[in-house]
């Protein structure tokens, strides 16, 4: 039965996509017999390939061509402004991965400490509450000034935006480990390290992983904007660069890629979450 359900769902998905493509095609039909076409054909030819002129929103076919073109050779590198989509994505993922990893290294131990100690929780809470709502991009000028490197600044911005959900969820998960399990560990005189790794960590793992999943989602949102700002490499820079070239098909292609990579990242963390979730 569920397979039948998912088959039906897939069929409807395909239908929705087809309707969307059709509407898109209709909306972007090239207008015939515009005033330019006859009189200025010669002028247009002088200016370049008149027929290829980018007027208006690109139709699906053009975008599809961009897909084929970029995906057929994702890893070419022809100088700073012309790199394959694979390379751009790799740069973005590298920054996100590094910033995220740094955030994990800081947030997990700190969250553990805050979760275990009501005193630390109260001491840290005002800072967390103030720092949490700050848009990560607002840190960018300070990061650029003090770190003096656009790429490292990007990593810092990812770090600062990933840390809060992880920190808060870790602290919450650790603080709300069932009293009974702690008591079992106490009556067994389990040493603190063993207790942390064998009782508290597995007990809090689902909550911690939820925090990580949220963090990763935010990090992937932020990296695009950050790279638009600092430029150089990355998928965000690619979008901005193609916008400056007025190459809308490429922009659309990049937007879709951002969505797909984001989905894969989220699925990965969803899978990790499932791995550590326990049934009671």
């Amino acid at each position: 039965m569920p397979s039948k359900l998912s088959l039906h769902a897939a069929l409807i998905s395909i239908l929705i996509f087809a309707i969307f493509l059709g509407a898109w095609q209709l909306a972007t039909q090239p207008k015939e017999s515009s005033a330019l076409a006859g009189a200025d054909a010669e002028y247009a030819a002088l200016m370049g390939k008149g027929a290829e002129k980018t007027d208006g929103f690109p139709p699906p076919v053009k975008v599809a061509r961009a897909f084929v073109e970029y995906l057929s050779d994702p890893f070419y590198d022809k100088g700073p402004n012309d790199k394959g989509i694979g390379i751009q994505l790799a740069h973005s993922l590298g920054r996100v991965g590094l910033g995220f990893l740094l955030a994990v290294v800081v947030a997990l131990p700190l969250g553990f400490a805050i979760g275990m100690s009501p005193l630390l929780f109260r001491a840290f809470n005002p800072f967390i509450q103030v720092l949490k709502p700050i848009s990560p991009l607002a840190w960018m000028p300070l990061a650029l000034y003090s770190l003096k490197d656009s790429s490292i600044s990007g990593i810092f911005v990812i770090f600062i935006c990933s840390i809060w959900p992880m920190l808060i969820n870790t602290a919450f998960g650790v603080a709300s480990v069932r009293r009974d399990w702690i008591n079992v560990a106490r009556t067994l005189e389990v040493n603190p390290l063993r207790k942390a790794f064998l009782v508290i960590l597995p007990a809090a793992a689902p909550t911690i992983l939820t925090g990580m999943r949220i963090s990763m989602g935010i990090a992937w949102l932020v990296i695009v904007a950050a790279e638009m700002l600092v430029g150089g490499t990355g998928i965000g820079y690619f979008v901005w660069n193609e916008w400056n070239n007025l190459a809308l098909p490429n922009v659309i292609f990049a937007v879709v890629m951002i969505g797909l990579v984001g989905m894969v990242l989220d699925m990965f963390f969803g899978w990790l979450q499932k791995l550590v979730t326990y049934r009671e």
Partner: protein, 309 residues
């Protein structure tokens, strides 16, 4: 006094209140003792602090005043000398059944090899009838099986004393019966010293050598110590054929229903010495013989009136 395996002296617990005024103590002047190999049950209404007493014995909670001395040493924190079976089984759901017991065993004997630990744990799990389920996760077990794992875990560390906090409270009557039988068998075989909280009068009579009756809180005290004088080789099936059974049962129920609330307040002290709570043997006494050192029918109503004022 020090000859006893476990002595509780003048134990008192006051919980801090939110407002400035001090709360009345949940219990005070708790004196009792347990000898090696004894099975002691404690019965009382909710709120009299039974679980707090057990937690103090386990070292999980500190008493406001008084001492708990086990085997010549003050109980000052949790210890592997005392195994605890929690009411909610408290198994770690991310570990297998074997993993849960092995976690405890490895805590007690860190130097043991993996094989030795597994063999040791399997032995105890077989003892509670779970030899087939050792690789399952707790979520795949029924409530009764989970509690069996909890019991196996507590026995596996071979504690000097076992503390059971209403271990069968959450189980259905049939399951409870079978596990009671198993516990009875294990305890009879191992001569384990046990302190157990229960709400179930029949359970207490079946399992215990001594039943501590607690009066209602606040200011709860040990009102009486009932000795279960029936022979130790009891079975759940045969116990109610013993003429002592109903006398003890009636005594306990009568206490819980009628007398447990009459021990609070200063008036109670005139007839009750908390330091030496009366030891009674209702099983051996004829139907007519009144229990000594107890409030008789006459002063009780008077006392109630005084308290109600």
């Amino acid at each position: 006094m020090s000859a006893h395996f476990l002595s509780i002296e003048a134990l008192k617990k006051v919980y801090p209140s939110d407002s400035g005024e001090p709360n009345p103590p949940v219990f005070e002047d708790i004196h009792f003792h347990i000898d090696k190999g004894e099975f002691v049950c404690i019965i009382g209404h909710s709120g009299c602090g039974k679980t707090t007493i057990l937690n103090v014995l386990a070292g999980l909670e500190a008493a406001t005043a008084g001492d708990a001395i086990m085997d010549g040493r003050e109980v000052s924190g949790p210890s592997l000398d005392r195994g605890v079976v929690f009411q909610s089984h408290a198994l770690m759901p991310w570990m297998s059944v074997l993993g849960n017991v092995a976690f405890a065993v490895k805590s007690k004997w860190p130097e043991w090899s993996k094989d030795k630990i597994t063999a040791h744990c399997t032995g105890y799990l077989e003892m509670v009838g779970l030899g087939q389920a050792i690789h399952r996760k707790p979520a795949e077990l029924s409530g009764g099986m989970k509690q069996r794992v909890g019991i196996a875990r507590a026995f596996a560390i071979q504690p000097k004393m076992l503390l059971l906090d209403e271990p069968f409270g959450a189980l259905d009557a049939l399951t409870r019966g079978t596990i009671q039988d198993e516990l009875l068998k294990i305890v009879q075989a191992t001569h384990q010293t046990v302190f157990m909280i229960t709400h179930d009068v029949d359970e207490a009579i079946l399992l215990a050598d001594k039943i501590l009756l607690m009066s209602n809180g606040p200011h709860a005290k040990i009102a009486e110590i009932v000795e279960v004088t029936m022979p130790r080789d009891r079975t759940r099936a045969g116990i109610h054929h013993d003429p002592q059974y109903y006398r003890i049962r009636n005594h306990l129920v009568d206490f819980l229903v009628n007398r447990s609330k009459t021990y609070a307040g200063a008036e109670a002290e005139t007839f009750h010495d908390a330091k030496n709570p009366p030891v009674v043997r209702p099983g051996l006494e004829g139907e007519r013989a009144p229990v000594v050192l107890l409030p008789t029918e006459k002063p009780a109503p008077q006392l109630k009136q005084v308290i109600n004022h």
